[in-house]
């Protein structure tokens, strides 16, 4: 038999694991309960109450054990689940469904399912994600009712299943979970978050995983082994010794890379010949600040403010916004500038209270700064909040407007900025001494107008994701065009070179805050093209810092020249990859 079935999924948590499979099947009850706990003659109601109470005790004990070993965030989940098990409305519903002679387990499962549906329908994303927790509680009560025992791994193993609920992962002893491979799930599944916190790999959405594993399993043989690479989203079922050796090598490389990269944090990001590059973070909420500071971000190049506007029924108040901005400005202090991006909403992002008309081409529609022509209040309130937050935090705030396409857009931005300030001064409220004001360059017209725009603003920040979709006319959401959505395409790089030249002519700095900035190969090309500042998610900064430390300015100049002469993205990626390949 040939060894090794190669499967791919979505990368969830990085890392390498090789080990025996531990198959977990959440669809319990497939085999009739051999050791049912049901006492003959016991009323379903009493059975349900007893099982719920037992489940509540188990979950409490689980929370206590996790808290003792410092896993507080998980402990809090089980506190809430324990209350769910004892919830009077859940129990009453299950008792009602069981009636006088129904199956208690079926009734509990149905009641938990109904409660979960209700949660899933809530608009609040955090709460709707709790639907899985309710179902999990229902499954637990069923297990108690049926006297079923969870079969935990007995040797360190890789979990293979559809999805792995939190109450199951928490019962696996530390060190016995080498990795998590899921046929279902998403990158935000509980199991993925857990994997990241444990530092083990996770891959989700692996098509054919269950069939490949179960097809090679037999009760009499030892468990099937798999090898997984969480960074590449790659799984090999039943790897031979050569594949295993390859994965061991990857594991060693990864450990080396991580150690090297983390070791560079104490020095500011620079090329091997000492040219400094400002390395800053993209953040989405004030809660992201500690992670960015931990990896030594020298500021924030993109503070997305959409979180304030989404998942709610009314617009955020000015005070609420001041509070959020001030928290981030204070966290980074006067030495590490924070660029707040004005709300990039409208078009495809549904904001119920704005009552925006549906559009045929949302990405080419009334989006971001364009909204302010007809309705300036949204941006005015935001700008007022930023002026006030800067004063409260005693720093100079930086702002940028997305989707700027024309000089008129810049004039509108500046006039709203000044109007907001003048109104606050007239009201006697403290304002920041000034506001560094820039624009995102992500629309082709802005790239062509770069020299004129540069004379009117304080900085440029290139959004490579949108710039790529607009230059190549390829919808970011259309998977059929995935091949065209590569920001390393020379057409995009030539636009970036033009934007940098425009900025240089006016003496203003250029940042890049798209995904390209967080990709080590992309970062080298961008710095080669003359970009001053790279802004990426905190998790990418170590890798970019390490890549920069390996190359010199002359190498980057040569890379940029070859990249601009190239005619496709693959060539550019190969050129940059050659600089990053291990020496020798």
């Amino acid at each position: 038999m040939t060894s090794g079935v190669r499967l791919t999924g979505v990368a969830g948590a990085p890392g390498i694991a090789i080990g025996p499979v531990w198959r977990f099947d959440a669809t319990e009850g497939a085999s009739p309960a051999a050791t049912s706990r049901e006492v003959p003659g016991q009323r379903p109601e009493d059975a349900i109450r007893a099982a719920a109470a037992e489940t509540g005790r188990q979950l409490d004990a689980l929370a206590g054990r996790l808290r003792d070993v410092g896993r507080e965030p998980e402990a809090a989940i089980f506190d809430a689940q324990s209350l769910m098990a004892l919830d009077p409305t859940l129990i009453a519903d299950a008792v009602r469904r069981a009636g006088s002679a129904g199956d208690p387990a079926d009734a509990v499962r149905a009641a938990a399912g109904a409660a979960a549906e209700l949660f899933a329908s809530l608009e609040d994303e955090i709460l709707s994600a709790r639907a899985a927790d309710v179902r999990d509680v229902g499954a637990r009560i069923c297990r108690v009712l049926r006297g079923e025992v969870l079969h935990l791994p007995v040797v360190p193993s890789i979990a293979v299943c559809d999805d792995l609920p939190p109450s199951v992962t928490a019962e696996i002893p530390p060190g016995f979970l080498l990795g998590i491979a899921l046929a279902g799930g998403s990158r935000t599944a509980h199991a993925v978050i857990l994997a990241r916190s444990l530092g083990i790999p996770a891959i989700v959405g692996i098509e054919g995983l269950i069939a490949a594993v179960d097809g090679r399993s037999s009760p009499s043989a030892p468990p099937v082994a798999i090898a997984m690479d969480g960074e590449r989203g790659e799984v090999i079922v039943d790897p031979g010794s050569r594949v295993a050796a390859d994965f061991r090598q990857r594991e060693a490389d990864l450990a080396q890379r991580r150690a090297n990269a983390a070791g560079l944090r104490d020095r500011p990001a620079a090329t091997a010949d000492g040219e400094r590059v400002l390395l800053v973070a993209n953040i989405g909420t004030p809660e992201d600040a500690p992670r960015a500071l931990a990896v030594r971000a020298e500021g924030v190049g993109l503070f997305r403010t959409e979180f304030l506007f989404m998942s709610r029924q009314t617009p955020p108040t000015e005070t609420e916004q001041v509070d959020s901005y001030r928290r981030v400005l204070e966290a980074f202090g006067p030495e590490r500038p924070v660029v707040i991006r004005l709300a990039d909403i409208g078009g495809d992002k549904a904001i119920p209270y704005l009552r925006l008309a549906p559009e045929q081409n949302p990405f080419l529609g009334v989006r971001a700064i364009r909204l302010a022509y007809a309705n300036p209040d949204l941006l005015l309130t935001q700008l007022r909040a930023i002026w006030r937050a800067g004063a409260a935090a005693k720093v100079v705030p930086h702002v940028m407007a997305p989707m700027v396409a024309t000089l008129a857009d810049v004039e509108l931005l500046m006039s709203l900025r000044d109007r907001a300030r003048n109104a606050l001064v007239a009201e006697g409220l403290p304002v920041a001494e000034r506001m560094v004001t820039g624009i995102m360059v992500e629309v082709p017209s802005a790239a062509f107008l770069a020299p004129e725009l540069a004379r009117r603003v304080d900085f440029f920040s290139i959004g490579t994701n949108d710039l790529t979709q607009y230059i190549l006319a390829a919808d970011r959401g259309n998977a059929a065009l995935a091949g065209l959505q590569d920001a390393l395409h020379p057409a995009v790089l030539r636009a970036i070179a033009g934007i940098v030249a425009g900025a240089d002519s006016a003496g203003i700095p250029v940042a890049v805050c798209g995904e390209l900035a967080g990709d080590p190969a992309g970062a080298l090309v961008l710095v080669g093209l003359g970009v001053d500042e790279l802004s990426a998610d905190a998790g990418s900064l170590d890798g970019v810092r390490a890549a920069l430390a390996r190359v010199t300015r002359p190498q980057l100049d040569a890379l940029a020249r070859s990249a601009l002469d190239a005619t496709n993205a693959e060539t550019v990626r190969d050129l940059a990859g050659a600089l990053l390949a291990p020496a020798g």
């Binding site: 809090a76 989940i77 506190d79 809430a80 209350l83 769910m84 919830d87 009077p88 409305t89 859940l90 409660a115 209700l118 949660f119 809530l122 608009e123 609040d124 955090i126 709460l127 709790r130 927790d133 309710v134 809660e287 998942s311 709610r312 029924q313 009314t314 955020p316 108040t317 609420e320 509070d323 928290r327």
Partner: protein, 94 residues
């Protein structure tokens, strides 16, 4: 019966952790305690049911109405109101 309105100040609203503390505390009283999301116009929910409390969808900035009815209603209302004001076990920004 006692009733009062309070504002949810927790950054993520009444999500699992603050809801759990609230429900545990409400369950200590013999009075019937309800919580109603006034902002969304939801119906009053049993404050001793975590599913009902989380299901009320109380997000930051929402106003909720608390009621307590029973022999220890006064004490229940004082304790629960203070619990909201102190952030339900979470740190609040001033």
């Amino acid at each position: 019966m006692r009733a009062d309105e309070v504002e949810v100040r927790n950054p993520s609203g009444l999500h699992a952790r603050p809801a759990a503390l609230f429900v545990k505390t409400a369950a200590r009283f013999v009075s019937t305690v309800t919580v109603q999301n006034v902002t969304t116009g939801a119906v009053p929910a049993d404050a001793k049911s975590i599913l009902a409390v989380m299901g009320s969808g109380a997000a930051r900035g929402h106003i909720v109405r608390l009621t307590a009815d029973g022999p220890d209603e006064e004490q229940a209302m004082t304790v629960l109101r203070d619990l909201f004001a102190s952030g339900l076990g979470e740190e609040l920004e001033a």
